[in-house]
């Protein structure tokens, strides 16, 4: 592979070694290294423990996972020296300490500057790459001859022939349409569809059926579900704060649409990793970025815990680990996560590979990402957002473009008038201010405010009392004012930045004629001109001491908050007002200067609030209009922004999402270092963004013009993955498609093509399909057509391989020689000599019940249907989810299961019993278990029983007489008519116990659950 520049430099360096030094190395040092170290650290031995090789100069220069091994001339800084001296408990090499003379020799060599005349290492031929089938270059194998025209069958039959076997005969039409409809739609065919297909004499009847199914939106819904399993898509965080993600669904809809639109696979991959960077002109693709964020999110560790603690750093590392492991498993079928703590034990994947791929996500966080599918509107919104940021930062209006400036100017005067009118309705109180802290000094200022100085306590409670003569007090205003005497001009007293945290405001009142009858005043709403992210003004009235209002990063200027009372205070004799400001957050987050006012205005809850500093300027007659304009511009920009229709939101990743409490994107991507044993406290060499070395057809390190551009990193990874020469990608996806059609992949472990995974049963077929898929535009629909039209797919499941007798009409006459029974040769059907009976998966069971009961609601897309009772009394913990108490006749219940809201920690018990995917980890293949709990669920579950009643009602509506009704039930449920015995037995049951009870039996039958 191309690394000529590096090689040239290394060669030049080697040439510079002085002759005597070279002789010393060759005669004394090299033999020690060879004898003592190469065993574990050389290409010859095929080992690079700790990522370190010592058989070349570049080996020790690059170093291992713990960092550079030798710093020429510096003994103390050379890890190799530390290791051989056995002075560090954690790092002793080799196990048996070297004789002192040898240690001295190596020390001498390092002191001399570690002259190393050895030829640079050969291209790092890491052991195992050549033997690893999955990374071998893709080449399209020739289709075996003499096995018919269909390439899929040709490969399968050639393999069967090696074992003296052949395909089974084709299943009957009823079976085929049932198999195909469940496979492509996840639903049963209707009796009419079955009838039409059986009666269709067109030689292309089957192909036409396939086309019809692929053209329906039901197809995307079914196949998206497969993809969502792999993506470990869930709609809540998991972990201990299983908070709902109310805007995760646009990603689900994106996936459904991608399948329905037959989006080329390369494009599909690229959009999910880097739609923002690769297709910036198409903001409608933003939901694709939900893929990277789809997994669990440890909110309490990432958003609540203190920064820079071990705990937080581990959580951040694991947050990225989830992203990169998911990407590797999904697109490459590689268990990359094994290399987080050590070199991969079984596959040629190094820790370096892992960390450089992790670096692709070093700049993102998960969160709700805003987007507007309307590009022009989105640009305009972004422009005004930027203008607002400039204005907030105090930049002069002159810097704006003239039209924008004019726009703002025209709006200034009306706003000035509104603000002044509002202001005139506030009455500043002549109040008495006290602090709970005896060392605090309170000073009254002429403007009615009070300044708090003296020794500042960690926390404080201020009490303010005043007599208010006016009746009908509707609201109270708190102004926190900047002052030159405060740290950073305040208005808080926090020495670091002048911030404050108002934990709770409590107001009480009494009539002046009955001062002892004090009652608490309920505050209905709280608004402020500015709130710190996560420290909104509402938190000052939420009754929780641990939450508060803050103003970071807008310290050094004044702010105001207005608290509107539940009911106006109306004391004819005047009101004795007491305000308690609790500031219990600690670290001197207390108010430095404040002023209190009241109003009788009715609009106090909806007033426009600006910084009191702005109001001062508005009121001052010396201010010219330009200054007023400047003062009001940020507010006007805010109003312009709020006039845009709300942007859409999707739970996704991004590099510049707004902070969520203590979880925020880094200013630039975090530096990523190889962590010895995955331990955040043992960082080694820093890596740049890249991918797998083992994929020889591609360069593992990305050439990024600006490594700080996080989105470019994701884009580079997406381009690397989707390169036509990346063998893993194309093998991975066709194997998944095969698995989703047949229930088993050509490689049994779809998320692991490594040595511990399975080898392909049909390697040539896998490669042929991979090439075919890649070279035909990555079209899933073409791939489906190819697979489902094969005789392999259309085989009967019931045959035992002794089918010679019914082949007289079959075109596959050569299979007649097959005996003895294939079942004895390949009982597991790995060679595909018959069809595979498949149990419906959890969603298919639920959807099929809805389909036959007639209750199914085929509305497409949109917010997820909560098929459970939901209450969320405490936003700091997980909500309460109740499936058992949920009425199955609620409309939400009738949506297809792909649209159900998926709570990670509390899955639907019915679907759970039938092996629904646990979205904690990527699910490549659904398990299919048989348990007593399943029997209980299907027999007793409230939803199931309700559908039985609906089905019974439908039978009653659509036909008359028990026998006919039972016959219809059979056609709906099993796509066939019952025989006499069945009809008699089931009708008898219906006669005795009612139709619903008969339906209950039928939906519990194996024939309903298993598709031949």
């Amino acid at each position: 592979m191309p690394r000529p520049i590096i090689l040239a430099v290394a060669a030049a360096l080697a040439a510079q070694v002085r002759a005597d030094d070279a002789a010393f190395f060759t005669a004394t040092v090299e033999p020690i290294l060879k004898q003592r170290c190469y065993k574990c650290h050389s290409h010859e031995a095929g080992k690079m423990k700790g990522g370190l090789t010592l058989d070349s100069r570049s080996g020790w220069q690059q170093g291992g996972n713990s960092g550079v091994a030798i710093v020429p001339g510096k003994l103390q800084e050379s890890l190799l020296i530390t290791a051989i001296r056995h002075t560090d408990r954690e790092l002793k090499m080799p196990e048996e300490k070297l004789p002192p003379a040898e240690i001295a020799a190596i020390e001498e060599w390092v002191k001399r500057g570690a002259p190393d005349p050895r030829a640079p290492a050969k291209e790092s031929t890491r052991q195992g790459v050549d033997e690893w089938w999955a990374v071998r270059n893709l080449a399209k194998p020739p289709v075996p001859q003499k096995f018919g025209a269909h390439p899929v069958d040709a490969f399968v039959r050639a393999k069967l022939a090696e074992h003296g076997l052949d395909l089974s005969p084709e299943a009957d039409r009823r079976t085929l349409i049932r198999r195909l409809t469940f496979d492509l739609h996840g639903l049963p065919p209707t009796p009419a569809e079955v009838g039409a297909f059986i009666a269709d004499h067109d030689p292309r009847a089957y192909e036409n059926l396939v086309d019809r199914l692929l053209a329906s939106p039901r197809y995307g819904e079914q196949w998206a579900r497969h993809w969502l399993d792999v993506a470990h898509y869930g709609e809540s965080n998991g972990f201990g704060m299983d908070r709902p993600r109310l805007n995760a669904w646009p990603y689900r809809d994106y996936v459904i649409r991608a399948f329905n639109d037959d989006k080329p696979y390369a494009r599909f991959v690229q959009e999910q990793l880097a739609a923002d960077a690769l297709f910036p002109g198409e903001p409608a693709l933003t939901p694709a970025l939900g893929f990277v964020a789809a997994g669990p999110f440890n909110q309490s560790a990432l958003a609540e815990q203190v920064d820079d603690t071990d705990c937080k750093r581990i959580a951040l590392n694991l947050d990225r680990d989830d992203m990169v492991s998911s990407v590797a498993a999904t697109f490459l079928s590689v268990t990359l996560h094994c290399a987080r703590c050590h070199e991969h034990k079984f596959d040629p994947i190094s820790q370096r590979d892992y960390y450089r791929m992790q670096a692709a996500f070093a700049g993102v966080v998960r969160g709700e990402r805003e987007f507007d599918p309307n590009v022009a509107r989105q640009r305009e919104r972004e422009r005004w957002t930027k203008i607002k940021q400039q204005l907030d930062a105090g930049e002069p209006l002159e810097k704006l473009d003239a039209p924008d400036r004019d726009h703002l100017a025209q709006a200034t005067e009306p706003l000035r008038k509104t603000l002044l009118a509002q202001e005139s309705a506030w009455h500043i109180l002549d109040a008495n201010f006290t602090s709970e802290n005896p060392k605090t000094v309170v000073k009254r200022l002429p403007d009615g405010s009070s300044l708090f100085s003296g020794e500042c306590g960690e926390t404080d409670v201020y009490s303010i009392t005043a007599n208010v003569k006016t009746p009908n007090i509707t609201a109270l205003r708190l102004e926190v004012l900047a002052d030159d005497s405060l740290p950073h001009r305040g208005p808080g007293r926090n020495p670091e930045n002048g911030n404050l945290h108002l934990s709770e405001i409590k107001v009480s009142a009494a009539s002046e004629d009955a001062p002892e009858k004090i009652s608490a005043v309920k505050i209905k709403t709280a608004i402020a001109d500015f709130s710190q992210a996560g420290w909104e003004i509402a938190k000052a009235i939420d009754g929780k001491a641990e939450t508060a209002w803050g103003i970071h990063p807008q310290e050094s200027r004044s702010h105001q908050a207005v608290f509107t009372f539940d009911k106006p205070l109306n004391h004819a004799a005047g009101t004795l007002l007491t305000v308690r400001l609790e500031q219990s957050h600690g670290r001197q987050h207390v108010i430095g200067r404040l002023r209190i006012s009241t109003t009788t205005a009715a609009d106090s809850a909806t007033q426009k609030l600006v910084s009191p500093d702005v109001l001062v300027r508005l009121k001052s007659s010396q201010e010219n209009s330009a200054a007023v304009q400047h003062a009001l511009a940020p507010l006007l920009a805010e109003e312009i922004l709020s006039a845009f229709p709300p942007a859409q939101r999707v739970w996704a990743v991004g590099g510049s999402l707004p902070p969520f409490r203590r979880y925020k994107p880094p200013k630039e991507p975090y530096p990523i270092r190889i962590l010895a044993r995955g331990d955040i406290n043992r960082p080694g060499t820093e890596v740049t963004c890249g991918a797998l070395d083992a994929v020889r057809s591609l360069t593992p390190e990305f050439a990024l013009p600006n490594p700080k551009d996080e989105a470019a990193r994701r884009a580079a990874l997406a381009v690397w993955i989707t390169d036509p020469a990346n063998p893993l990608t194309w093998r991975s996806i066709v194997n998944r498609a095969w698995l989703w059609h047949f229930g088993r992949g050509l490689v049994e472990t779809p998320n692991d093509f490594g040595k511990m995974g399975g080898a392909p049963t049909h390697p040539d077929l896998l490669d042929w399909l991979a090439c075919e898929f890649r070279d035909n535009g990555g079209s899933f629909k073409k791939l489906h057509r190819l697979i489902v039209t094969s005789a392999t797919y259309r085989q009967s499941v019931t045959a035992d391989g002794s089918w010679r007798t019914d082949l007289s009409e079959s075109p596959k006459t050569e299979s007649a020689r097959l005996l003895p029974s294939a079942a004895t040769i390949d009982g597991d059907n790995r060679l595909l000599w018959r069809g595979t009976r498949r149990r419906l998966d959890a969603e298919q069971i639920r959807d099929a019940l809805l389909a036959v009961s007639g209750k199914i609601d085929l509305t497409e897309g949109g917010p997820s249907a909560m098929q459970f009772g939901f209450s969320d009394p405490n936003k700091e913990v997980s909500p309460r989810i109740d499936y058992e108490g949920f009425d199955p006749d609620e409309p939400a219940s009738n949506r297809r299961s792909v649209y159900r809201f998926i709570f990670r920690n509390v899955n639907d018990p019915l679907l759970d019993a039938f092996d629904a995917a646990d979205p904690s980890l990527s699910v490549a293949r659904r398990t299919s278990t048989t348990t007593a709990l399943q029997a209980l669920s299907l027999f007793n579950n409230r939803f199931v029983l309700r559908q039985c009643e609906h089905l019974a009602a439908r039978l009653g509506r659509e036909t008359e007489g028990i026998e006919k009704q039972i016959a219809l039930a059979y056609r709906l449920l099993f796509s066939r008519v019952p025989d006499d015995d069945e009809l008699r037995a089931v009708s008898a049951h219906a006669h005795k116990h009612g139709l619903a009870n008969a339906c209950r039996v039928l939906v519990n039958s194996n024939e309903f659950l298993f598709i031949p």
């Binding site: 815990q305 603690t309 094994c338 995974g757 920690n905 709990l933 029997a935 009870n997 659950l1009």
Partner: protein, 477 residues
């Protein structure tokens, strides 16, 4: 008589003989029982002679304060109120408060002289049966990660819990009950909901079956809901008989598929579960003395007391692993051991102690007097400890650096301690242990080598203990 899967009023299962007659022939009984997990023999042969056959895991949700229960530190008491510089390695508050001495009285107990605080007066009587791990630590100070770590050995979700591994290794000794049962605190689910007893990537059979004694359906869908009025005991009985008929006819057309046979048999197992579960929950047969022992005579201790008796009854019936929760994660800081605000008398902390102290001590006594403690391991644990310094003025913050866990019964050497924290109980100092060691010890007592009990998933031979763990032989008798 026939079976009914609907109404608990008329439990009438197939007799064993009738079942065998009906289902006789056609399938291999071994394969079937393996599929349904009702094996009486071990699923995996033990690696060595087991010391225990069952486990009761008591989980104190929220991070029970070691400083106020089992880890007595004279320095903490003496220097209460002093500012000591502690590094903050986790937790929710950036700046440590002053040292907070324990407000509880400390005394030595039993022959072994173990220190226990006055917050746990009943458990204090049991110390001679218990082995204390005094220097447990966790890599996290965050609830769900800590909880997930203690129950599965990983800080991230998706991995099988200990009970799942035990079920995978041993199967159930009961023909009517699952191997692994979870008893959440009646107040609500733990932090991670039902994920706290997940099977992870093990087959669904190894998921903990949640038992909620007070619900209409103590196990989801155990009986048809009352709202399904068309269902009657007769319709269910006849229905199951018809179902069997239909399924057998269907089977005749596909004789080589063991899954179809397993499904037929699963209805029989389900019917037995319908009988067995109410039997476990029906405490009428328990004497007054026993009920008192568990604190069922007191409103405060009754809920956990009831679950503790049920835990014993499950073990008696062959359940392998009972996970019993003290504390709910659905009410924020309240109703669990997450005592940020207050660990003083009268606090939520005391309430959690009172709720569980008598029931847990009762469980130990009762198991012992019935001879069950000999082969049942009881394990008391929590996600992490709490800081010796104060949060607010009376509470303690999270602290993964040290905490206490104890084990008793089933091959555990009573009256022992292993490990020691530093002078303030800020960090584990001597003979440190982690959940891996505890899990390794647990498997060891059950007859399994934790390095050899594996399950292949996504290309790796997965272990409960990942690449860690040491059997703590110091506490094994």
């Amino acid at each position: 008589m026939s079976d009914t899967l609907c109404h608990r009023r008329t439990p009438a299962p197939l007799s064993r003989r009738e079942f065998l007659t009906r289902t006789g022939g056609g399938f291999g009984a071994m394969a079937l029982s393996a599929m349904l997990g009702e094996q009486s023999a071990h699923a995996t042969a033990p690696h060595h002679a087991p010391r225990a056959r069952a486990v009761i895991q008591l989980f104190m949700l929220g991070g029970a304060s070691q400083c106020d229960t089992f880890d007595y530190k004279p320095a903490l008491q003496k220097r209460s109120g002093e500012k000591v510089k502690f590094p903050v390695s986790g937790g929710t508050v950036a700046s440590p408060g002053p040292v907070l001495g324990s407000p509880w009285e400390w005394r030595q107990h039993g022959q072994c002289g173990r220190w226990v605080s006055s917050a746990m007066p009943h458990i204090a009587h049991c110390v001679d049966d218990m082995a204390f791990l005094m220097a447990m630590h966790a890599p996290t100070s965050e609830h769900s990660a800590g909880q997930t770590m203690q129950v599965s050995g990983f800080v991230t979700p998706g991995f099988p819990t200990v009970g799942g591994w035990v079920s995978h290794a041993m199967g159930s000794a009961s023909r009517d009950l699952p191997a692994y049962v979870a008893l959440p605190d009646p107040v609500g689910l733990p932090w991670t909901g039902k994920a706290a007893w997940t099977n992870g990537f093990l087959p669904a059979l190894h998921q903990g079956t949640m038992l909620n004694p007070s619900a209409e359906n103590p196990v989801p869908d155990l009986f048809a809901p009352k709202s399904a009025q068309f269902v009657t005991p007769e319709s269910a009985r006849d229905g199951l008989s018809l179902l069997d008929h239909i399924n057998r006819r269907h089977l005749a057309s596909a004789p080589y598929d063991s899954r179809l046979e397993a499904r037929i048999a699963s209805y029989e197992l389900a019917a037995r579960m319908q009988l067995a579960v109410p039997g476990v929950l029906d405490l009428k047969g328990e004497t007054d003395a026993t009920r008192r022992l568990y604190g069922m005579d007191d409103k405060l201790t009754e809920p956990i007391g009831r679950n503790c008796i049920i835990a014993r009854r499950l073990i008696e019936r062959g359940v392998r692993f009972v996970q019993l929760w003290v504390g709910s994660g659905l009410n924020g800081g309240a109703g669990n051991w997450d005592n940020h605000n207050d660990i003083m008398p009268g606090s939520d902390f005391q309430k959690m102690c009172v709720r569980s102290d008598r029931p847990v001590a009762g469980l130990l006594h009762d198991l012992k007097s019935r001879g069950l403690l000999e082969d049942t391991v009881v394990l008391w644990t929590t996600e992490f400890g709490r800081t010796p310094y104060s949060q607010g003025s009376k509470g303690r913050d999270h602290n993964g650096n040290t905490f206490v866990s104890w084990m008793a019964g089933g091959g555990i050497k009573g009256g022992t301690t292993f490990g020691e924290s530093d002078e303030f109980s800020y960090a584990a100092a001597v003979d440190k242990t982690m959940c891996y060691d505890q899990h390794a010890t647990l498997l060891h007592l059950l007859g399994y080598d934790h390095t050899r009990l594996t399950f292949r998933h996504n290309g790796a031979e997965r272990r409960l203990t990942d690449v860690h763990g040491r059997v703590i032989s110091e506490i094994v008798s």
